[in-house]
Subunit: 199 residues, 2 copies
């Protein structure tokens, strides 16, 4: 594959082939500067009309973490308790308010989306989810392991943390250095012929 | 940032900071082996219960491309005509049929999802969209530029290409080497304080 993939081989391993979803974490702290560096990298890849609807709530150890745990499904609770930092990845349902600033070539898109809640919701969720993909790569680029979890009570979490805001949770991600027995054996991937067609 | 981001600096540039959405393409062909290498890299990052619902239809020049163009919004037509390869990224709404193979530790999830169309649709779209994020990085890892476009008639495209299948289009992506004047000036990104909170 090496002549076809031009990305540096170490980077291929760090981001794609060796990286794994961690289920345990060491006590090694994750610094605020690392979280900021992740943001500074993840902000670049594209979104529709540059809307960037993804938002991030970082939850460290303490009372907020305890509250977060009550909304996690049981199988996710122990690892979410142990991670140095947990990110709640959310979508800003009022992302369109930023359009005059982030897409100054068509500021009137703000008003069009303000008037169409269905289109706005679809656009928000699609683009925020794309950005989650970028964001998980940025975590790995910082030399950290990510542990994404869909198993949580989104309504309960949103009431707890986002009651007075337009943010709505999409995914919870544990972040840290992988601990002992951090991963399960890798599960099988689909084959090229399952996934790809040519026309 | 270099001590905080451990990813090789060339890889940071190739995937995040220098990479841009291309709007023009050269005539340099994209080989089938490159498309396969992109798949082989993009298949690794995680999806919920390893479900991998993303599907890809590659459309080369010819009659299928002409058909595809009729479903693109007008502003996207010229660049979609010129790209050596266009990928229609789609979700397989019957992705749950693969669960016994890709998630053998809980094969009964197939039947649970078969009985719950709403949960199935939500899970399919969320995870396929995550995978689109991974997939755009894999295109860049192959030294190619991607040009993602949301502006197309999804219903028309699906009737044309996926009438007898469970695939539904999510995004259309032009792929190739960037041509002359391939990009617009970069649009402004949101600031850390717009996007991130701490709890």
């Amino acid at each position: 594959m090496s002549d076809l993939i031009t990305l540096h081989p170490e980077a291929q391993a760090q981001l794609f082939t060796d990286a794994r979803t961690a289920n345990t974490f060491t006590d090694e702290p994750v610094r605020d500067e690392q979280l900021r560096a992740i943001f500074e990298l993840a902000k670049y890849p594209p979104t529709a009309a540059n809307t960037q609807p993804l938002r991030v709530l970082f939850v460290r150890q303490g009372q907020a973490r305890e509250q977060l745990l009550t909304h996690m499904s049981e199988g996710n609770r122990a690892k979410t308790a142990s991670a140095p930092v947990v990110a709640v990845l959310a979508v800003d349902t009022d992302f369109h308010e930023f359009i005059p600033r982030v897409f100054p070539i068509r500021p009137e898109m703000r008003d069009g989306l303000a008037a169409d809640a269905v289109a706005r919701e679809r656009m928000a969720r699609f683009n925020a989810t794309l950005q989650i993909g970028y964001w998980l790569f940025a975590v790995r680029a910082a030399g950290l392991a990510a542990g994404p979890m869909a198993g949580f009570d989104a309504d309960g979490l949103d009431k707890e943390f986002f009651a007075d805001s337009s943010w709505r949770s999409l995914l919870v991600v544990n972040i840290g250095k992988p601990g002992p027995d951090a991963w399960f054996p890798r599960l099988p991937r689909l084959d090229y012929d399952d996934v790809v067609r040519h026309a």
